[in-house]
Amino acid sequence: MDVKEVLMELLSTDIPSGCEVDRAQSLVQIFQRYCEDVSVDKLGNVIGRKGAKNAEIKVMLAAHMDEIGLMVKQIDDRGFIRFSYIGGIDHRILPAQEVIIHGREKVPGVIGSKPPHMQEPEERNKALKSEDMFIDTGLPAERVRELVRIGDVITFKRKPCELLNGCFSGNALDDRAGVATILYCLEELDKLQFSAEVYAVATAQEEVGFRGAIVSSYHLYPDIGIAVDVCHGNMADVAEEETHKLGKGPAIALGPNIHPKLFNRLKSIAEDYNIPYQVNPEPSATGTDAWAMQITRQGIPTSLISIPLRYMHTTVETLNLDDIKISGRLLALFISSLDRGFVEGLRCY
């Protein structure tokens, strides 16, 4: 699998949280290449299945398909658009972004604000807040009203690009990188023997509170749930110990959200196969699908692996493509290692 190609394909659809029901189809087509059957549930989770039906072991892999975005909240008399946030947006990245309003047709626009020349010096030192900004489509107000309604979603224009040494940059890599990792894992499984029934889930609405994971893990109620998400990669302005290095393999989480036996198994497989990995201590809420999965129904043994990603929730999120492959291979080897005894042991403390 050409990771970059699949990633580009995954990025070809804009999926702000809440748009999954309408837009899941593009993912379904990609999933069909790697899964035996694919379905879409009521909230728009895409659920692919691979492996023996009704096997003794059911594994759920979850990576969210949704991305953060904006939403039209008001259109003023001159056709300028005011917006609300979908998910955790850093308002400092907004000035001068190019956006697309998904109205009756796709309307391009730019995020504008009062020019710096017109601001007092102390005003210029302050970050712009969302109420200081608006979207300018360049269209007359009547035309804006024809094309755009309150509640239409807005996405950032995509400009993915390849950097040096296998680095890749773009928006929505959180968490299409996770989806790509799961697909890579499914392909790797073809080379291995495994007895589990694997559910690959591209979850909906993670960015607004892992809502898709809540319902899909209820529905599937797997024996093991693994979330594949992103974590903070090393950046020039952040202490080294707070981040994980790009290109050095997945960060395997441990902490209360993680079943200790799953952490140990993932770690020992990585060591046995010389797969690079990093340890990611999570003292409390992980803020990922794993947090929701773990307390579904009577509880699900849960794990989390993360792809190091720089500049999360900006339009220039940056990762190393190798990490996707390494993580996908680790997951495949993990699944291949599972047997009923191990799974039963997960309920024995």
């Binding site: 441990l254 209360p256 959200n257 201590p281 307390i295 509880g299 699900i300 997960l346 024995c348 403390y349």
Partner: protein, 340 residues
């Protein structure tokens, strides 16, 4: 003494093994039990199989620390697990990881501080643990990233009727349940020693889903703020005035009829009992009472001063009264049913 053993045991949210093992040993001859995917210890004592089926719940976990990185010089950076007031951390001894390594949380000596620094509270982010390691490599022989740490604190009896210990919240509740399980009832007594209450009432959600009781009694250690520099209306509970019944907190509103029933039972039996007089905080009741189609739930707590610190205080008489009250309450449910 079981309470000593329980409060001294290591059991930060997500690493409750020691506490669970003690409890398993204690209830082995009293009830059937199993663990679940999260590590909850679920039990059932069938009695004569009568309904209502009561769920007793107390959480095994305690607040603590987790090692997040090891510096070049062998100092350990950490983060808190659960609600700890950062200001209590400095100048404390801790025990880390499975090897029970001792460490200290130090800070720059007062002589070296600027006057302004002395006024600023120290944040956990700026603190570190010193285990005496020579360097990173030396530290890594004893401690791993992701290891948990707890306060190094011994159980002691102090004053005339008090005990001093860490983790009174909620090893007291665990202890009370073991005492209740020694008694025989006609009703099905089920329940759970839960995990991860301190980081969002997580274990109890799964436990209640599995147990499906007709009603639940959550047994807690709650804060008693009956101390100087606090006004009486902020006491919430008072040490020595008996177990406290919760009317409302951030996760739950009590059914007044059930609260009144607890008060009536207490009065009839002459057991001192108080109402919890603030609406802060939360307990496992928050997740239990909204499980499935809803579960009638009561919260009974033992007042504890200086909760979530290395040295909490609680009254032995309050603990005994809590046991007596829960016992009387179960008998009342046995005789008069749920009465709804």
């Amino acid at each position: 003494m079981l309470l000593k053993e329980l409060t001294e045991a290591f059991g930060v949210s997500g690493a409750e093994d020691e506490v669970r093992n003690i409890l398993k040993r204690e209830i082995e001859s009293l009830a059937q039990f199993r663990t679940d995917a999260l590590g909850n210890l679920l039990f059932e004592k069938p009695g004569k199989g009568k309904r209502p089926k009561i769920m007793l719940a107390a959480h095994m976990d305690e607040v603590g620390l987790m090692i997040t990185s090891i510096g070049k010089n062998g100092w350990l950076k950490f983060d808190t697990v659960g609600g700890i007031d950062d200001r209590i951390l400095v100048s404390k001894t801790v025990v880390i990881g499975p090897q029970k390594v001792k460490g200290v949380i130090g800070a720059k000596a007062i002589h070296l501080q600027e006057p302004k620094e002395r006024e600023t509270a120290l944040k956990s982010k700026n603190l570190y643990i010193d285990i005496g390691a020579k360097d990173k490599e030396d530290a890594e022989k004893k401690v791993k990233v992701g290891d948990y740490a707890v306060f190094d604190s011994q159980f002691e009896r102090i004053g005339s009727d008090l005990i001093k210990a860490k983790a009174l919240d909620d090893r007291i509740g665990c202890y009370i349940i073991t005492e209740i399980l020694k008694k025989d009832y006609d009703l099905v007594i089920s329940g759970a020693f839960t995990v991860q209450e301190e980081i969002g009432r997580r274990g109890s959600a799964a436990a209640a889903y599995a147990i499906e009781p007709d009603m639940a009694i959550v047994i807690e250690g709650t804060f008693a703020a009956d101390v100087p520099e606090n006004k009486e209306e902020g006491y919430s509970t008072t040490l020595g005035k008996g177990p406290a019944v919760t009317l409302m907190d951030k996760t739950y509103i009590a059914d007044r009829r059930l609260v009144d029933r607890v008060l009536q039972v207490a009065e009839r039996k002459g057991i001192p009992c108080q109402l919890r007089r603030t609406a802060f905080g939360g307990t496992d009741a928050g997740s239990i009472h909204t499980t499935k189609e809803g579960i009638p739930t009561i919260v009974i707590s033992v007042p504890c001063r200086y909760i979530h610190s290395p040295a909490g205080l609680a009254s032995l008489t309050d603990i005994q009264n809590a046991i007596d009250l829960i016992d009387a309450l179960i008998i009342d449910f046995q005789e008069r049913g749920l009465g709804r």
